[in-house]
């Protein structure tokens, strides 16, 4: 076994001939915080879809801690220790934030245990602690439908943490947030990065600069380049795909 938490080899996903991912190779160490950027249609979301089992790869394979993820269903992969946050916040609107977190926090997710088990005191405490971390203690018992967009984003990140996955996949966590909220989410992610491996997909370059150590650029379904933020920013290829013409680079 390697210390790689995620290895992706020659991954191709095609939809009726259109290749959303094309011979993608990707590696990530345990404990790393990786930011993936790329223009629209680069295959970022499909990339997450494959890892979480929503889409099956056409060819190639994805290994998580050395285990092949092919033909495992979403819940199985999630139980292996991969958590995902969606682009638009997806929380259970009819439940309260406390119940949302409690469901994610549950360690035994089969039918019988969920049916008979009661939340343990430790889980109660985890939930209470998480509510405080994401700043929703005062709103813990109103339906999540009444939360604002930013609060829902934080709640979903909280749900992700409650799952205590080894690898967090975070899809555009700051879309539609104010600057202040963005910074909060950034700090939250940096705190989480101390104990988790995280992949963040993001468009907001300010935000990427705030959190990024290692950046991967996707383009047309494959990795264009990889490196630190500065390296990536000065890479002529990246400038070209992002801005079309290199001479407009400073505009």
């Amino acid at each position: 076994m390697s210390d790689k938490i995620l290895e992706i080899e020659n991954l191709t996903v095609s939809f009726e001939g259109f290749k959303a991912l094309n011979q993608l190779n990707f590696n990530m160490d345990t404990g790393e915080l990786r930011v993936i950027i790329g223009p629209n249609g680069a295959g970022k979301t499909t990339f997450l879809d494959v890892i979480t089992g929503k889409v099956q790869p056409t060819t190639g394979r994805a290994l998580f801690k050395g285990k092949n993820l092919r033909s495992r269903s979403e819940h199985h992969i999630s139980r292996l220790g991969i958590g995902r946050k969606f682009q638009t916040p997806r929380v259970y609107l009819q439940l309260t934030p406390r119940e949302n977190l409690d469901l994610s926090c549950n360690r035994h997710k089969n039918v019988v245990a969920t049916l008979l088990g009661r939340p343990s005191k430790a889980e109660h405490r985890t939930v209470a602690g998480l509510l405080e971390t994401i700043g929703l203690t005062t709103k813990a018992d109103i339906p999540a439908a009444l939360l604002s967009h930013g609060e829902k984003q934080r709640l979903e990140i909280g749900m992700l943490v409650a799952q205590s996955p080894d690898l967090l996949l975070v899809d555009e966590p700051v879309a539609g947030l104010t600057d202040e909220e963005t910074e909060n989410v950034g700090n939250l992610l940096l705190t989480l990065a101390e104990s988790h491996s995280i992949i963040v997909i993001e468009h907001d370059m300010e935000f990427v600069r705030q959190i990024a150590r290692q950046v991967t650029v996707l383009h047309q379904g494959s990795v264009l380049c990889e490196g630190s933020m500065d390296e990536v920013q000065n890479n002529p290829q990246v400038i070209e795909v992002y801005l079309g013409q290199p001479e407009e680079g400073d505009g």
Binding site: R90, V91, I142
Partner: protein, 391 residues
């Protein structure tokens, strides 16, 4: 941490106390229906309504099941008539076989001389009692598994359940030799422990049994919906694929809740059969199964009390209206579907929780309850605006 812990503890004792109060109220109501209603109805000379009330309470048991899967989990089954009928047939066959050793009359009519093998175990009461819950539950579990496994849901699930309803209807309707086809099984003239099932004595026992089982069914559903699994069912209704990404497999939960719901329908069907004296494939026509849904919709979905109230009121309204104006009943029922779905999506209980409460508050001169963020409520500016708006 220490403060957190004490908060948890105090909230749990609070919960225990409120549960106790709720339990006391529910048991009191059950006792009232058990003893009070028959006395009252006899006093006003409407004895036949006791039987009606008993039957409608069995329907309320079925409504609880429908509420579990539709109200809480968001799966609309249009095939609950199957499970209802299976329960009914199981008990009816037991009764038909009662005077031990005799073959039910209809078999001889069709020239069947030996009891078909699958009816053999129905000589035994324990088996029958288990079967009338388990057979519907198992069939629901199987059908549910085959459907949910493939992530077929929404209207697809609804019309598949409806199609299976028609399939069962066709099967029961066309198999004269096995289950007496269209005519169904009569229970009135059968004997249970040496007493005619249609007699007042047996009927009042079944009335009591219905009240008790309704109470138990309510408690079961209350337990299911208040625990973690109840929240999970709501989560499945809200966003099923999100549930998957949280590490739960919705299939198992949906199969479970569908099976429980079918089991409840089976119990309801058995109790109903004895109190109405007959079970026939008519309980598997399309309309009856959809009616079950409308009971829940009228009462208020995702509310157990709503389901029970809905089943009782809609059926009483039906019996009164269709006695008086048989023509208008269908118009009324159709309009009921339309109105409940478009104007009152939360049903009666849902209305009570929102607008009804506001109306009540405004009647007694209290300000309307405003749903808002706690922080917003503390905001002096908002408070000022609200003062002004109220005039």
């Amino acid at each position: 941490m220490i403060t957190d812990y004490s908060a948890v503890k105090s909230s749990s004792t609070m919960r225990r106390r409120s549960l106790l109060i709720e339990g006391a109220i529910v048991v009191a109501i059950a006792l009232l229906i058990l003893f009070g209603a028959p006395i009252l109805l006899t006093a006003i000379g409407q004895e036949f309504r006791i039987n009606m009330l008993g039957r409608f309470m069995t329907l309320a048991i079925a409504a609880l099941g429908v509420d579990l899967i539709w109200g809480y989990t968001g799966m609309l089954s249009l095939g609950h008539g199957i499970f209802f009928s299976l329960g009914g047939y199981a008990l009816a066959m037991f009764l038909q076989l009662q005077p031990e050793g005799e073959l039910p009359e209809f078999f001889t009519l069709y020239g069947v001389t030996e009891l078909p093998w699958f009816w053999q175990p129905f000589h035994s009461l324990p088996f029958t009692l288990a079967a009338l819950v388990c057979i519907p539950a198992l069939i629901a579990a199987l059908l549910g598994y085959l459907v949910f496994r493939n992530r077929i849901r929404g209207v697809y699930f609804s019309i598949l359940t409806q199609a299976s309803l028609i399939v069962f209807f066709n099967f029961f309707n066309s198999q004269q030799k096995l289950i007496n086809g269209t005519n169904g099984l009569k229970t009135d003239t059968t004997k249970i422990f040496g007493v005619y099932a249609g007699s007042d004595q047996v009927q009042s026992v079944f009335y009591a049994l219905t009240v008790i089982l309704l109470l138990l069914a309510y408690m079961l559903c209350r337990w299911l919906t208040s625990g973690r699994i109840g929240k999970l069912l709501v989560a499945i209704r809200d966003d099923e694929s999100r549930v998957r990404f949280s590490g739960y497999d919705p299939t198992g939960f949906k199969v479970l809740v569908f099976a429980v719901s079918a089991g409840l329908a089976g119990i309801a069907g058995a109790l109903y059969t004895v109190q109405s004296g007959i079970i026939s494939p008519k309980t598997m026509d399309i309309a009856f199964s959809i009616e079950m849904v409308i009971w829940v919709a009228v009462g208020g979905r995702a509310s157990l009390v709503g389901a029970i109230l809905g089943a009782l009121t809609v059926n009483f309204a039906k019996s009164i209206l269709s006695e008086q104006f048989p023509e208008i009943w269908l118009f009324f029922q159709g309009a009921l579907f339309l109105v409940v779905v478009t104007v009152l999506p939360g049903g009666f209980v849902g209305w009570l929780r929102t607008e009804g409460q506001d109306l009540f508050r405004s009647l007694i001169g209290r300000p309307r309850r405003v749903m808002t963020y706690p922080s917003l409520a503390e905001d002096p500016e908002v408070e000022y605006e609200r003062q002004n708006l109220r005039n």
